[in-house]
């Protein structure tokens, strides 16, 4: 938030190194500037003064309410704005008895209550003013807004975002806790298309993220991510009709099934050997087909079974057992981090 400024230029273009974290929050703030309306953050309890009141009343009002400016209203209409600056001019002239009308600013810049914060920020930047009156669609004064109100509005919205994310995380990491059954599990299904290198790794990335959300230890999520990735790429490269991956998550074990009705593997035992590959030259150029896939999987999981029949298809099942302190969806996350 320290970089929330009101210049016309977005902060990211100010020619300085902005860390990713900062960029992230700025992006959200920029987004919020187009989501939050002025009426949501403006001060609605209006303190106003009549143009006929003496300037001495302004002194009292500013002191009493601890504010630095007040809108001047005549016959329910905004007539001007009077601020400390105007007051100083008045004091210099020693005219505390003269009416507000004489010293108020009438060259009025105002905002519409239905506009977004970005409008307010632009107007603050353009005019250099500290506060702006806000009018509704009938041009009636409904509030006043300062840069401070905007900053506070952003902070509140960001805090809300943060809180929501916390709640979501908490809920996910306790998913299994309140559900009673003899055996509860969560099944994630992914369809994998043949030669879809564009989306290669999408299923495994999503599974890894899901596990992290469920409170899995990062080490465990990584291990399962690698195993699923290899299975996923095998389907993309070899399964000529594509295939599917199911991941069944239970608190104490994760089972992964990858199957296809593709060409099948001629010699399963041979295929398990590191370095054995049937991938084409084209596939190898992309960096696949090192013959390490199945071997990698065997390193990452506790149990692995590969069944295949030529012309029928291939089924690969993998299991990972979780120790008590590794269980997912039972709220262990907080202790791990």
């Amino acid at each position: 938030m320290r970089d929330l400024d009101f210049s016309d230029e977005p902060p990211r273009f100010k020619g300085k190194v902005i860390t990713d974290q900062l960029a992230g929050s700025i992006t959200r703030v920029e987004e919020l500037a187009y989501i939050i309306r002025i009426e949501e953050v403006m001060t609605k309890t209006l303190i106003t003064i009549s143009p006929d009141a003496p300037m001495s009343d302004v002194v009292e009002l500013l002191r009493e309410k601890r504010i630095s400016g007040v809108p001047v209203v005549e016959n329910d209409e905004l007539a001007g704005l009077i601020s400390t600056e105007d007051l100083i001019k008045c004091l210099i002239n020693g005219e505390l008895n003269s009416p507000v009308r004489k010293y108020m600013t009438t060259d009025l810049v105002f905002l519409n209550s239905f506009d977004y914060l970005t409008e307010a920020m632009k107007t603050f930047a353009r005019t250099g003013l500290g506060r702006l009156p806000v009018l509704d669609e009938n041009k009636k004064l409904v509030g006043i807004i300062t840069k401070g109100d905007i900053t506070y509005g952003f902070l509140k919205a960001l805090e809300h975002d943060y809180h929501e994310e916390e709640v979501r995380r908490y809920r996910a990491s306790h998913l299994f806790e309140d559900i009673e059954s003899d055996r509860t599990s969560l099944i994630l299904r992914y369809v994998i298309n043949h030669y879809d290198f564009m989306h290669g790794g999408a299923a495994s990335s999503n599974i890894k993220k899901a596990l992290l959300r469920l409170g899995a230890h990062p080490q465990l999520a990584r291990r399962i991510g690698i195993a699923v990735y290899e299975a996923e790429m095998n389907l993309i490269i070899h399964a000529d009709h594509g295939g599917s991956i199911h991941v069944e998550i239970e608190p104490h074990q994760i089972s992964i099934y990858a199957w296809d009705d593709g060409p099948g593997i001629e010699d399963v035992k041979e295929a398990m050997k590191p370095g054995y590959s049937t991938a084409t030259e084209e596939i190898r150029e992309l960096g696949f087909g090192a013959g390490m896939g199945l071997f990698n999987i065997s390193r990452c999981v506790d149990e692995m079974k590969l069944e295949s029949e030529i012309g029928k298809g291939t089924q690969l099942s993998m299991k990972v057992y979780l120790k008590d302190d590794e269980s997912v969806g039972e709220g262990y996350q907080s202790e791990k981090e």
Partner: protein, 113 residues
């Protein structure tokens, strides 16, 4: 040795900006163009040096939590790949030098694991 220093010393082009490059300290390195070998060999928080530049390197880096990918010999990933890397928080760096030179430099700088 931070990622920042490595980027400066090796004059690497930044394709996707690293998060807090001054605070990331790669602990090891791995060089291979075969993705499965990388899956086996690259440790978490390592630097991966490769001349592969297609979009699957992002998925691999993401699964392995590598600190950054250095793409060598001037190979340039396409827009989609760069976009995906940015989304997934994967740091992509590029250089016109070859992998041997980059690894040699990293070794000189003290990255020897």
């Amino acid at each position: 040795m931070t990622l920042d220093q490595i980027i400066n010393n090796l004059d690497l082009e930044i394709l996707t900006a690293p998060k807090e490059a001054g605070e990331i300290t790669p602990t090891s390195g791995y060089i291979s163009d075969m993705l499965s070998c990388v899956m086996t060999g690259a440790k978490s928080q390592s630097l991966w040096i490769t001349l592969q530049s297609h979009n699957n390197i992002v998925a691999v880096a993401c699964l392995l939590d590598v600190a950054a990918i250095i793409i060598t010999e001037g190979a340039k990933p396409d827009e989609e790949t760069i976009k995906k890397a940015a989304e997934e928080g994967v740091t992509l760096l590029s250089t016109s030098q070859n992998s041997f030179y980059i690894v040699g430099k990293l070794w000189e700088m003290g990255l020897r694991d």
